[in-house]
């Protein structure tokens, strides 16, 4: 069953297949290792400690949301002139993080980057959980939550329809489509692995539950054929979708006339930033998770190094976008634009701006060095910087533009309230709780997909027929 990986040299691939999985690389050991996490009678002690803290934070989130709904949006710091505050900052922050999962699963799939197979499952799960956190904000910041259905084009007693030419409605469609497609993509990838768990189950409850969600998957080649085609189509659909979602989020700003927002660079700049922040979050969560659950041989240092390269590339793009914004503000000759950008760097929020530049532009540059790129501690610290920096970026965009726009008489200074802070901390609790539950109860690594990159998955054409030699 185990074969020498170097023998897998084929006409259509004029290079040796890269080794993507370390250690014992046969099919059964991959199954054992991934399912072992789920089937262990007890998770590691650290898991208990972590989930206690994160679920307490989640409870705090629900309490804050309940307080907001009962009392009103006034419990937040949003007030004239900054009617958008941490709610929108955090919404964009979480939506951005949600982009890494689909990027890894769809775009890297289309680009045949096989190294994605070890990390795509966890990254897709993070996408879903981040979308949950993101979707929470727009629905509660409408104020009268019980009327949030007005966002959707439903027939109603007012005989009115929503305005389809508004970026805010585009946002509703983009984020809800993204959540739905990500869920389908993630669940479809899970089906064969749920079947594996079902077939290994020792208790009736596990067999019943995993069996229910495995939909009777049996690994039939006829099923695999349509499954792979559906997966490819979903990847091809999700690729433009992932680019469209953050473009649409950027339209919320770019289509308005507020100085500092009304720029054409926003869609590409937001997408690059989203990928940057998403990969930052994947590194932040995967570095401890692979240690905790003993998946170091499947999620190798090579995977982490590749993600760090993506962080370096997108971080540099974001830096370029900052510079371009300044150039255009000067070159465009609009005094309000010029003022906004000078105000960002030198105004009352200078600390946020320069911290953002340090976190997003300076910190990732250390990843040019292989030693740093492959050091777990260094990459963990840099990924934390990226997370902080990308949050600050959204804060700088939303708050500096709103608090100082055209009329100096209506300038202000935004201050968050304790409820703002606790709600934001609570979303981290929700995100991490869902992620910890996922790690414990679902296969964290796509078992069937990892098997396809093992040497055992490749026919060697050694059976004397012409056909066998062609498709390796």
């Amino acid at each position: 069953m185990t074969a020498n990986p170097t023998s897998a040299l084929h006409l259509d691939e004029p290079y040796a297949r890269p080794i993507l999985v370390d250690g014992d690389r046969d099919l059964a050991s991959v199954t054992r290792r991934v399912c072992g996490v789920v089937e262990a009678p007890k998770p590691p002690r650290a898991w208990y400690i972590a989930i206690t803290i994160t679920s307490a934070m989640t409870v705090m989130l629900f309490a804050m949301v309940a307080y907001l709904i009962v009392t009103g949006v006034g419990v937040w710091g949003n007030n004239s002139p900054a009617f958008w505050g941490w709610d929108i900052v955090n919404f964009v922050f979480w939506v951005g993080i949600a982009h890494a999962g689909t990027l890894i699963s769809a775009i890297l799939f289309l680009l045949r980057q096989k190294w994605r197979t070890s990390i795509n499952r966890a990254a897709e799960a993070m996408t879903l959980f981040a979308v949950c956190c993101a979707g929470l904000y727009p629905s509660i910041h409408v104020g009268r939550v019980w009327l949030a259905y007005w966002l959707f084009p439903l027939p109603n007693q007012m005989q009115m329809w929503p305005n389809f030419r508004s970026p805010l409605l585009w946002d509703v469609f983009a984020v809800s489509t993204y959540a739905t497609v990500s869920l389908l993509f993630w669940y479809m990838g899970l089906v064969p692995d749920l079947a594996t768990l079902r077939d290994r189950a020792t208790t009736k409850l596990r067999k019943g539950l995993y069996g229910f969600f495995a939909l009777g998957w049996c690994g039939s080649a006829r099923h695999w054929q349509r499954y792979e085609r559906a997966y490819l189509i979903l990847a091809a659909l999700a690729t433009p979708l992932v680019l469209s979602v953050h473009s649409v989020v950027s339209f919320d700003f770019a289509v308005s006339q507020v100085p500092g927002w009304h720029t054409t660079i926003f869609p590409p700049y937001f997408v690059a930033g989203a990928i940057f922040s998403g990969f930052g979050m994947v590194v932040t969560t995967m570095v401890p998770a692979r240690e905790l659950f003993g998946l170091k041989e499947l999620v190798t240092l090579k995977h982490l190094e590749n993600m760090n390269k993506v962080i370096l590339a997108t971080g540099s793009m974001v830096g370029l976008a900052y510079a371009t914004e300044f150039f255009i503000a000067w070159y465009g000759g609009n005094p309000y634009e010029r003022f906004v950008f000078l105000n960002r760097a030198l105004g009352p929020y200078w600390w946020a701006y320069w911290l953002m530049v340090f976190c997003n532009v300076v910190a990732p540059q250390f990843l040019w060095f292989k030693k740093i790129r492959t050091s777990l501690w260094a990459m963990f610290v840099i990924s934390i910087f990226v997370n902080i920096g990308m949050w600050l970026e959204r804060f700088v965009i939303v708050v500096t533009s709103l608090t100082r726009d055209y009329l100096p008489t209506s300038w202000g200074y935004f201050k968050p309230t304790a409820v703002d802070v606790c709600t934001f901390a609570g979303t981290f609790g929700l995100f991490l709780t869902l992620f910890l539950l996922f790690c414990r109860f679902l296969p964290m690594v796509a078992i069937a997909e990892v098997k396809t990159v093992l040497p055992a998955a490749h026919p060697h054409g050694g059976h004397g027929t012409k056909e066998g030699a062609h498709h390796g």
């Binding site: 199954t31 019980w146 305005n163 489509t177 998957w217 998955a457 059976h463 062609h470 498709h471």
Partner: protein, 408 residues
Amino acid sequence: MAESVAIQNASERPLHGVLAEFDDVDSISAAAREVRDAGYTRFDVYSPFPIHGIERHMGLRPTKLPWIVLVCGLSGTSLALFFQWWTNAVDYPFKISGKPLFGIPANIPVTFEFTVLLSAFAAFFGMLILNRLPEHHRPVFESSRFRRATDDGFFLAIEADDPQFDAAKTRALLQKLSRHPVELCHDSGQSAAMPVWIRSALVAVGALALLPLAAVVWARASDTTRPPIHIVQDMDSQQRFRAQVANQVFADGRAMRPDPAGTVAWGELRTDATLASGKRGDAFLETFPVPVTDAVIARGRERFAVYCTPCHGQSGYGDGLVALRAAELQEQNWVQPSSLHDPLVRARPVGQIFDTIRNGVRTMPAYGRQMSVEDSWAITAYVRALQRSQNATIDDVPAAERAKLGVQ
């Protein structure tokens, strides 16, 4: 062993097919080619991961899934475009700053998202439907070895309903290809379809899920005299007594309370009733009860510009911007403001003009609450000046000033 007992018991049930196990991708691909070349069509390969190129070894035709996705995607595109056009341009025309009611660019984001959504549904659910999933049972699951098909086992099963199938011959063919003992697979009596209780539970949940929708449809289609159900009150209906309604708490049954005897409401103190009402007894004053000076007329002109010009116009002809706009829009319920130079208006005593300003007339609102009595008299004085200016003769101009006008 339990396995052999199971197989023995099973032998009384109808035969489903023959199951053979293989060690790796190469041997199962080779076996699939052999079985295909032997003319079998109803056979399947089971593996823990998709085997590259197996569909050619098995002689499978490409799936029609992409066409289903294409059709659904195009439906999504046209449906989204049509819906946006119908809702925003036809059913509820959305006028925004004179922009066209329908234009492609602004409607592209939603169209794109909806296309992707329907295509993704088609890809996912199309895959499930074409694969006949969810599937409750398959006779190959009866084999205890078959569990490894989702771990590291490779299996090939030829089904008994294949026209080429012959229990002995087929078994011999597979045994020749496989190193492992070939197994006969029997129908377990379990149906591939969902058990009845799961199906009924799904139907019940589906029916319950439709109930709220049915309630909404019923409520919209039926008439009732009861007030609408208001789950969240907001500030729409408040528990209070409105003006002009009955209130049993008070002896006179009125909710609106008159001032207690001997009190004056704030701002309502009128020491001079004639000055405040423009009337002496029931008759309107013919002369101003305040001295008319240049300062008063100037004040009146300034207040007139604030309160009166929007409808009556700068010169008082009833041609203010609001009136012009209403005429342009051909508003049905608009009452044309009077021209202050109409003979009827000119003939009115100053007390009546003052009274009109204070208390309104027809659709003209009462301004008494918005300005002081003195300002109302100032405006009245200015109206008089305006009326005289628009109906003046040369005799009205002082002799000393006539030269400036170029007339004698």
